[in-house]
């Protein structure tokens, strides 16, 4: 059976026919997608994946789109990112991620080797995250109407009955913990786009299900969790501050940044707290429980750099909701970004 599948592996550029539902589409499914993601729920390749009854708890559902440019970067690619991003939205909500759908929009003329790599990466991420990809779709748009490959996902998981995390639980006095260095993903993508050689720097992209579970099982009272993707840590903090009506203060002295990330930011005129992380967990927990969370995260792969980076308190008149206490002990507001963070020159 394996021999047969290998013989069907598609080659040549992606053509409009590959999205038309006929023989070429079938070739892609049977020759590439099905073998890569193989699982009992995908195998029938029917119109819908019929799943077993969900485990006890509340279902959690998320969706996401991926259009990252460049499609690959040190430490990952669009395929790996699309699965991790979806899994992580579920994981930070307290859910156990279970099932994924993966829909692709391909540009006519796309090199099949790129598609093969994206698929292989997505499959690898699925295995790492312990999820099954159970439904997918492929469309092909004419050359120039897309940009190589776009992916849209949905993810279904279940929040166990005893878990209740969310911003509604955050209160004044909570501390904020990050699982590792900040901004690695955003920095590496922007650096690649601007032809900056970042040496050892890799995207932090990884599934967070293990880290999230570790935090939840640490004995600490985890109040809320987030993954600081688009807009970075500063944006997540603004969202939490807005929903809770509280003030969040980050301490510049404690923020973990790789030197390459800081260098990229200096060179491009960017602020590292606004750069995306794709494999970092932010946890809000009572100050008394901070050590439990930090230790639990540090014991997990990808969490060795976990530390407390800020605290939550009541709003102060005359101050922004989210602030940075600088090295010189001044207070600097961290507002939401306007427009894209365009590289500055002056």
């Amino acid at each position: 059976m394996t021999q047969e599948r290998q013989a069907e592996a598609p080659s040549g550029p992606v053509l409009l026919a590959h999205g038309a539902g006929g023989r070429a589409s079938a070739e892609l499914v049977r020759g590439l997608f099905a073998p890569a993601f193989d699982n009992p729920f995908l195998r029938p390749l029917s119109d819908a994946a019929v799943l077993p009854p969900l485990p006890p708890g509340r279902p959690a559902l998320t969706t996401d789109g991926f259009v990252v440019d460049p499609w690959q970067f040190p430490g990952g690619d669009l395929g790996y990112l699309s699965v991790c991003g979806t899994v992580n939205d579920l994981a930070v909500s307290g859910a156990v991620p279970l099932w994924l759908t993966w829909s692709l929009i391909l540009e006519e003329g796309l090199d099949m080797a790129i598609l093969r790599q994206v698929v292989a990466s997505a499959a690898r991420a699925s295995r790492e995250a312990g999820v099954h990809l159970v439904a997918g779709d492929t469309k092909v748009v004419p050359r120039g109407k897309g940009d190589k490959v776009f992916a849209t996902t949905s993810g279904l998981g279940v929040v166990p009955p005893d878990i209740d995390v969310g911003d509604h639980r955050v209160h004044a006095g909570d501390v904020l913990i990050v699982s590792g260095t900040i901004g690695d993903h955003g920095a590496v993508v922007l650096a690649t786009r601007h032809a900056l050689d970042t040496g050892e720097l890799r995207s932090c992209c990884m599934p967070l299900h293990q880290l999230a579970r570790a935090a939840l099982q640490s004995g600490a009272e985890v109040h809320t969790m987030h993954d600081p993707t688009r807009g970075g840590v500063a944006t997540v903090c603004n969202e939490v501050a807005q929903r809770t009506g509280l003030r969040i203060e980050l301490d510049e002295r404690t923020l973990p940044f790789r030197s390459e990330v800081l260098a990229v930011c200096e060179l491009l005129g960017l602020e590292p707290l606004y750069l995306a992380c794709e494999g970092r967990l932010l946890v809000w927990a009572p100050a008394a429980d901070a050590e439990l969370v930090v230790e639990a995260l540090r014991a997990c792969p990808g969490g060795s750099g976990a530390k407390v980076i800020g605290h939550t308190g009541p709003r102060r008149t005359g101050e922004a909701p989210v602030v940075l206490r600088t090295f010189s002990r001044g207070i600097r507001p961290l507002d939401l970004l306007s427009g894209m963070d365009l590289p500055r020159i002056c």
Binding site: A191, L196, D197, T198, E260, A263
Partner: protein
């Protein structure tokens, strides 16, 4: 009036070189700093080295600020007393 970042020149060719900061390497043009040598710290603006940084001056500047805090204030106090009375 612009963002200029100090980077270290790690190698050079006739018109350009490689500069590094915190593990990030970038090609920079040396057309404006033709005499920059490998090992120098250069200020990089818009992809060009615009000047060589003299790190030893950092100490001197801090000393100047420290001095400004002590000596000149006393001198000003005398002048202020002289003017007020």
């Amino acid at each position: 009036m612009c963002l200029a970042i100090p980077m270290q020149l790690t190698d050079r060719r006739e018109y350009d070189g490689t500069a590094t900061l915190g593990g990030v390497r970038r090609t920079v043009s040396l057309l404006l700093c033709p005499d920059a040598e490998v090992g120098d710290h250069v200020l990089v603006h818009a992809g060009y080295a615009i000047g060589v940084v003299d790190a030893s001056e950092a100490e001197a500047t801090l000393a100047l600020f420290d001095e400004g805090m002590r000596r000149e204030v006393a001198a000003e106090a005398r002048l202020a007393e002289g003017g007020a009375s």
